[in-house]
Amino acid sequence: MATVAGERLFGKAIKRREDPRFITGRGQYVDDVKLPGMTYAAFVRSQHAHAKIRRIDASAALKHPGVVAVFTGKDMTGVNSLPCGWDLRKEKNIPGVVQDLAMVPHMPLMSDAARHVGDPVAVVIADSQAAAVDAADKVKVDWEPLPSVTATDKAARAGAPQIHTSAPGNVAFKWEIGDRSATDAAFKGAAVTVKKRILNQRLVANAMEPRACIARFDTATGELTLWVTSQNPHVHRLLMCAFVLGIPEHKVRVIAPDVGGGFGSKIFLYNEEVVCSWASRQLKRPVRWTATRREAYLTDAHGRDHVTDAELALGKDGKILGLRVKTTANLGAYLSTFAPAVPTFLYGTLLNGVYTIGAIHCEVTGVFTNTTAVDAYRGAGRPEACYVLERIVEAGARALGMDVAELRKKNFIPRFSGAYQTLVAVSYDSGDYAAAFDKLLQMLDYKKFRAEQAASRKQGRLLGIGFSTYIEACSIAPSKLVGALGAGAGLYESAKVRVHPTGGVTVYTGSHSHGQGHETTFAQLVADELQIPIEQVDIVHGDTGAIPFGMGTYGSRSASVGGTAILMSLNKIKEKGRRIAAHLLEASPNDIEYVKGQFQVKGVPSKAVPFGAVSLTAYVPHKYPDNLEPGLEETSFYDPSNFCFPFGAHACVVEVDRDTGTVKILRYVAVDDVGKVINPMIVDGMVHGGIAQGVGQALWEGAVYDEGSGQLVTGSMMDYALPKADMLPLYETDRTVTPTPVNPLGIKGAGETGTIAATPTVVNAVVDALAPLGIDHIEAMPLTSERVWKAIQAAKAKR
């Protein structure tokens, strides 16, 4: 889109600059990279949920035409376990640890046993993909099948199969937050208490592009280049070099080119990337691997999978006096990169929601099971917290006989800016929760809906409305704080801004776009600050060979943390430009201001030099200040002082088909407050996509393991029901704007809001629709037609 210099782009819905390339098939994804002499990897994976490996016989596979090598775990001497980047140990003074995290080994290729279906035990490398796959079928593994456990609530039961020797009883850790005795006291003084079992089922991330990698070891330079589907190439490089392979970081370049979605699943270091990198060094040839969709289902980190018992204590007036939460979190067979953080510090710390609550106590037990590892999936802990809170709050309102909207209103934290200290460690930045909710009620015409609902109920229709209000912690994160909580990394962001002699600008950002639209939003920011046309701005990301050390994109952090780093570099550029311009204008730098793309003497537009003249002078420094370095290039690292806390209120109107139990969404209304917004169209898109995923969890999605065999039953898109366009309504969205004081841009973060809010919204609506039948809760999601129909039948039988 052509823009005019000086036109303010912050807040403008300009079209995404990256889209022409994507929608015309000219994106360059990992699988598009073709190298001379490259080989193809195919992994031999366990068909068993749990089995000892007696012997692996690769002789037949090695004879297969085109096979270059077959490797097993025993060949990978000197290679370490994949690391877990979050520690929960008392000796590290991590708050809340009740039982230390069991750091169980997770080898790139398993040699002793397989612990979930899909666990890799060998790799076949061949001259063609077909040869690799055919030969992988010929690798004979002598298995000794063992009993398995996949269900979250059964993993730690007496007699459950033991998965790791270093994690007795399959307990990974125990952790708590809040005040147990204050919470006990609150329940004693309550007028009404409710207790519900609330299940948050396991999800599969389902990025559109499957994971892929290509590793090329260059024998001439000793450098390894890894192209990989990553949300954070520097994190991949650090973890792989320092922890797993023990190779020098400066000799490894990680490139995450165009990446087709991640939803968290591409944050983590995976077995295949390590194996291909190692194998390339052995074979001195490039080794490539692209996951099949089946492999994606079996090996991409899954999300959620909590079993929770939640209790709420209410006063007669509807005030929330206490919240007690006991959660078992299924971590899968191994510890994925950030797995322990998700059901603890990204979960328990969000249970205060947007409410004033008397007391909170939450305890979490992490368990190992014979399933795919669980880690951050869009929202990561926060959707689980919001779901528990919003379900139990609704149950409380129903028990008290109070309108669900009314009860929420009574408990909102009053408007504030600066700090609101919650009962669960974090301190909110700014909020006006009632304003968002009021706007939502207005958009809904809530009173009118209740009247329509009453009339429709008389006709036997099952119409319901559901709400959720939510808070999320994003723009992750203050490094010191997360370090004290067990993070193995700092969570700042970096940006290098290079002004070229002729005035063009390239930004090298540590953030990574895999759908977020940084090439547009970041460029809007730069064009505004430098008052130059957006066409003069390019954004580079995803290549450790080009960008400064950066932490990547997840946790709705790019605009707020990455954007602020860019802003800091731009300020440095302008400051240096001011000194160069002052010299050219023979004025004092203090008298120079930057107006409409030129440096001018304050108040004297006729005495000015344009940005391009200053940039040229920086590189052709003939007439130049003494003691000033030539060049115009600045790098900044921004480490936020706090999280940012977006919030909002969503509502949904549903109708349940009494005969089939099928839920139809009639309306979906969302009011989000993500602070200031750079590009409203892109934020709308994020909200829409997030709602689709949240609705998907509420109604259709779910990774199901067969209890007996441990097989993933929903292992393909033919079985795992992702939301499709025709299953969703047209969304009605709006925003309130409460800027954060945490960063100078006032941006909170928008990437995960819809996912967090939508799931409880829909489930609450279905429960409301079924309320006339005496139903006040449905324990498990997704609310498939059968599950809803059975709830109706059970309610009928009770009457």
Partner: protein, 289 residues
């Protein structure tokens, strides 16, 4: 998702295709639209050594009306049926069925003959073919033969098609005046296959009494079946709501209902009744319109 190696054959006529089939026997599979076989091959659930592609055989696709029936070539895509003016004017229920198969990509490539020969228990066409009393025209080394739909579906992905035969045509009888037909489906939320699908084709006489009823049920069991009990409860009666309700109660009789993630036997049996009722109700409405 790479299939095992196979040889590909593209015969230019049916005779050549039959010759290949005779020569290669069990090692060969006929390829029509490829929307059932290819996914199974990619998962290596099917590993045929030879594929005989009917895509280049002329004369196997297209829709004609011969006065008594719509004659649909086996290689006619679902989309061709869905969009055919002959279908829309003479037997619109076929367009209705086609329009709810899979998604546009599936409908553009998948074929009616491929679907009927594959006999997926959750396919949509079988319910309609049963309700309408279709005939399958099979061609083998000794020429053509017709198989009535009631003899066609033998079990899970098993049909009356013989080893050396190719399904070349489907003949669907037209409905007399005063008829109505409807297909109602509970789609699988992921695959869009029929968890349960019911098709009803009814003929009412001038007094509004049902003179002929065809009801097919697909999805719930290992094969699509004719709901004989439902048909018997409709014929000879005026089809008021109570009669329809009572008839639909028999919709799961004779269906070997299979439990899976989409439903227990109890729920799927219930869905058979619900969707039979809906299909009959709509067919009656259309018959009267």
């Amino acid at each position: 998702m790479y299939p095992a190696a196979f040889d590909y054959h593209a015969p230019k006529n049916v005779k050549e295709a039959l010759g290949l089939l005779g020569k290669l026997k069990d090692d060969a599979k006929i390829l029509a639209g490829g929307h059932s076989l290819i996914p199974m091959m990619k998962l290596r659930l099917a590993q045929p050594k030879h594929l005989i592609d009917l895509g280049k055989v002329p004369g196997l696709s297209g829709i004609k009306a011969d006065g008594k029936a719509l004659v649909i070539g086996a290689m006619t895509t679902h989309w061709e049926v869905e969009s055919s003016s002959a279908v829309k004017s003479k037997l619109p229920v076929l367009a209705e069925v086609a329009s709810v198969i899979g998604d546009p990509a599936v409908r553009n490539k998948g074929t009616i003959g491929g679907s009927l020969a594959h006999a997926d228990p959750a396919a949509d066409w079988p319910a309609a073919m049963i309700a309408l009393g279709a005939e399958m025209v099979c061609e083998g080394p000794k020429g053509k033969r017709k198989v009535g739909v009631d003899q066609w579906f033998l079990g899970l992905m098993a049909t009356a098609l013989k080893e050396r035969e190719i399904l070349v045509q489907v003949r669907v009888p037209l409905l007399p005046a005063g008829s109505g037909a409807a297909y109602m489906k509970f789609p699988h939320p992921a695959s869009r296959f029929a968890v349960v699908g019911a098709c009803a084709a009814l003929t009412l006489d001038k007094q509004g009494v049902c003179s002929k009823a065809g009801v097919g049920v697909t999805g719930a069991g290992t094969r699509a079946v004719r709901a004989k009990g439902v048909e018997a409860a409709l014929v000879g009666k005026r089809l008021d709501a109570a009669t329809i309700e009572a008839a639909a109660q028999k919709a799961a009789d004779g269906v070997d209902v299979q439990a899976d993630l989409q439903g227990s036997v109890e729920y799927k049996s219930h869905l058979c009744r619900v969707f039979a009722k809906r299909a009959i109700t709509e067919a009656v409405r259309r018959a009267g319109a």
